[in-house]
Amino acid sequence: MSGVFVSVGSMMPFDRLVRAMDEWAAANPGIPVEIQIGKGTHEARHARWVRTLALPEYQARVAACDLFVAHCGMGSIISAIEAGKPILMLPRLQAKGEHNTDHQLATAKHVGVRPGLHVAADEADLKARASALIGASAPPPAPISRFADPAFTNRIRAFIEA
């Protein structure tokens, strides 16, 4: 699909993201929006939604969309970078019961600064940034190789073979 693909990841619910992007879909009826809602209780009313996706189908949707909107999880970030798609993220907050710790804020701070990656402060900021990014055909992240740096994997290989 072209348009916007939204994912909360595979492990925990994140209704705040689902609700915000469902509202964004209502305000942008000309743009296809599909949301993977996971274990959340909020079912989108304006966007298409699906509860879970097999990993290959998830990757196909990231590859086909114009803008990927997700929680600030490494699976989402790596999938976006590998597919060369701009990603807009809303970090999960421990205080709202959205994750066990606030490590997604740390990810936003340390990884979210890469080109092609965008972090929203809250739901209003998320919707504003989604409109700006989809309107401007946001530039993609810099491409990376399919695997980690050989210097890293060679070190793990040495550990295996020692």
Binding site: L55, G73, G75, T107, R146, A148, I156, F159, I160
Partner: protein, 148 residues
Amino acid sequence: MGKRVLAIASGGGHFIQLMRLSPAWEGHAVSIATVDPSSRALVGNAPFFTFRDVSRADWWRIPLAAFDIARILLSVRPQVIITTGALPGLIACALARPFGVKSLWVDSIANSDVLSGSGEQAARVCSQVITQWPHLAKEKIDHWGSVL
């Protein structure tokens, strides 16, 4: 034939990070274990296993995950375990440790402010613990690189 390697990770970002390390065990007899059956499509011809997931939030499921992981260990009989987390990877390393199985804990790149809870425990269980962030390296916790 090389070593018998078990590469194990939970779902989502943990599994995607594990796959980015694949060249490390190329040529060895690797088996892959994770939680999502659809991940099989990404592992090629390697023997593929799934287990029931567990995290700190639902710790009462530890016996279920441990049972599944024990069965995988008995089937694979690994000489080396590589894990990118989370808690199930730690369980695998702990169960295998009395049998002299060498294990490497690769703390998730998501943990950039502090090491993960399981990563802190891993320092007592695994042969080697590494962080993907240079500023988190300390005694017994090395930095070798990152998946990105």
